[in-house]
């Protein structure tokens, strides 16, 4: 859906119209009540997405820096409308992959299709349908925030009226209206991040590529961004999210890809990855109680099938790793009772994305 401001043929009053490019829409002028039909023009510069069910298709991407393979034969697919989490330790090749997807870097081998457009042969069309937000968005500090948005919007040949409407919408959405005429160099980190997000959305992208967008932000702003991602995804925007905050990825992503040492080591839904990586693994049990003694801990350690015991600082919780296939929870409970420890709760800990991530990365080492 795009927005355009047109002039009423009768009274020349400006009327805002929203429709898809090429669509006919019936409008009534709020000033003179003149009714007319307006055919929304086909966008000249916003390229149509090629007919594909995949928003991003990556095939054998390789990037070398002075003989070092930063990205090594990376392949994965992101379905249209998905929120795809892209995880990996520091230096794994996440940002390099993202820079290739956004055509900032050229791959040495392999290719990627963004909305069906090959980044090697049709980079400009691919760039028209993406919105990109780097981890640290940089701006021309001496420019005012609204000038920054006008500058980036101009690349998409968006006419001035539509541009103004879009910029107003973005400032309102990002709660930056009061700061739009301030120079960017006076912005706080969070405000710069919000402005970066405005830049990423200036062309109504079909695919949003976000490189650690919430890094270094306060919890309130992180929550704000998360809500924004969900809202955009509900509107049909495919989101490719690289993040270190695994709880964030677990909360909003439908699928994840994990990269380590430049290679993709897993791509699947979090549930499937959990099943694949944790089913043959040891089970974790969380036990909470009033207090525990060292004697009781030593007694538990002697039980056959216990792999590891972790106590929290307040000595009110135990995290016990049990060998796969051993049902020793009743024995643990009995041992605690024998040691006069009042057990409040025993629960089996489910595999979190963090467990999956750590397990896969350790295995890859």
């Amino acid at each position: 859906m795009a927005t355009k401001i047109i002039k009423c043929p009768q009274c020349k009053n400006k009327v805002t119209v929203q429709a898809n490019p090429g669509e006919k829409t019936y409008i009534t002028c709020p000033q003179c009540n003149t009714k007319c039909v307006f055919t929304f023009p086909e966008e000249k510069t916003i390229a149509k997405t090629a007919d594909t069910s995949f928003a991003i298709e990556v095939e054998g991407l390789v990037k070398m820096f002075n003989g070092f393979k930063a990205v090594d034969n990376v392949s994965f697919k992101v379905k249209t409308g998905e929120i795809f989490g892209f995880l990996g330790p520091n230096g794994a090749g996440k940002t390099t992959t993202i820079k290739m997807l956004t055509s900032i870097l050229k791959p040495n081998q392999g290719t990627a299709r963004i909305g069906g457009f090959d980044i090697r042969t049709n980079a400009i069309d691919a760039k028209k349908i993406i919105g990109f937000m780097p981890d640290v968005p940089g701006f021309y500090g001496e420019m005012k925030a609204e000038d920054v948005l006008h500058f980036y919007a101009e690349f998409y040949k968006i006419d001035k009226d539509t541009r103004n409407t879009k910029i107003n919408e973005l400032f309102e959405m990002m709660q930056l209206e009061d700061f739009r005429r301030k120079k960017v160099k006076t912005y706080s980190r969070g405000m710069k991040q919000k402005l970066g997000f405005c830049v990423a959305l200036i062309n109504d992208p079909k695919i949003l590529i976000l490189d650690e967008p919430t890094i270094g932000l306060d919890p309130q702003t992180i929550h704000f961004f998360r809500k924004m991602f969900m809202t955009l995804n509900q509107k049909g925007v495919t989101i490719f999210l690289s993040s270190h905050i695994l709880s964030e990825v677990q909360e909003i992503c439908t699928k994840v890809g994990i990269i380590n040492h430049g290679r993709i080591i897993a791509v699947d839904t979090i549930d499937e990855l959990g099943k694949k990586t944790m089913s043959r693994k040891n089970k974790k049990v969380l036990i909470t109680f009033e207090n525990i003694t060292q004697k009781a801990i030593d007694a538990i350690k002697k039980i056959s099938g216990i792999i590891d015991i972790q106590t929290n600082e307040s000595k009110k919780r135990l995290e016990i790793e049990i060998e796969s296939g051993k049902n020793i929870i009743p024995i643990i409970n009995q041992t605690l009772v024998e040691n006069n420890i009042g057990v409040n709760r025993i629960e089996s800990k489910e595999a979190t994305l963090e467990d999956i991530f750590l397990s896969l990365v350790r295995k890859d080492k």
């Binding site: 956004t102 055509s103 900032i104 400009i124 760039k127 940089g138 701006f139 980036y152 040949k157």
Partner: protein, 277 residues
Amino acid sequence: MKQNLSDNLWGTYVIFKREFFSNFKSIRMIILMIIFSLFVLFSIFVGSFIMSAADNIPDMDQSLIDQGPIFILGLVSGFIYFIGPLIAIVLAFDVIVKEKIQNSLNFLLCRPVGKRAIALGKFLGVTGALAIPVITVNTIAVIAIIIISNKGIEFVQAAGFIIYTMIFFAIYILIAQVISSLAKTTTTAILSGIGIWFLFWLFLPIISNIVDNSSVANALSLINPGALYSNCIGHILDMASTNLSGEIPIWGYHLVFFVWLFSFLLLAIEIFHRKGD
């Protein structure tokens, strides 16, 4: 293909506009232009002083004095030979590296425009912003010289002086842009720029004088934009004392001067395309 060309041309225009206005309105430009104007003013003053006191200066070449305004204009070009490259380098040394440091390059590179178009837009923007004050100052200088000397200058000579001076600036803007694409810090960029200025302004002419061989001197003058500028201006102004040896036809200097401009334009674009990220 046609669509890509149109996107690239549009992108070049958008970048040109931003670079032009941000440079044109910058404090740096104002300071540089004050310095440039003072140098031009000073050279006009020195020229007119020499002319008025020529009779009292021993061993003064009378043929130079007879040239009147041309002599002063030649003196102005001599000062520009010294200060012009520095002004261009100081203005353009951070045109790319600053974007890398402040991380705005990533935002720029993911717009629907090619890297070559970005490099071209930046060059045109900086050159355009510099061209307006430089051409204005030079035009005023020509008018002032005509008034002071009470003698006319041929239009071709005045226009040639103004155009060649601007091309001289443009060559150094391109040199600075190449350095800026390769440098990782602004300090490296400015120091390298000054190093190159030093090489062309002082080192190569000294070598040229030390080596008592006209072929070597000619070869060195062809690889030095400053020497090319001097020789071309000398020819345009038809000055009696130029260091043209005659081994290289005069059109050769003009040709090589333009070859320098286009070679550095291509180099600046290609280096940014390959290394600018």
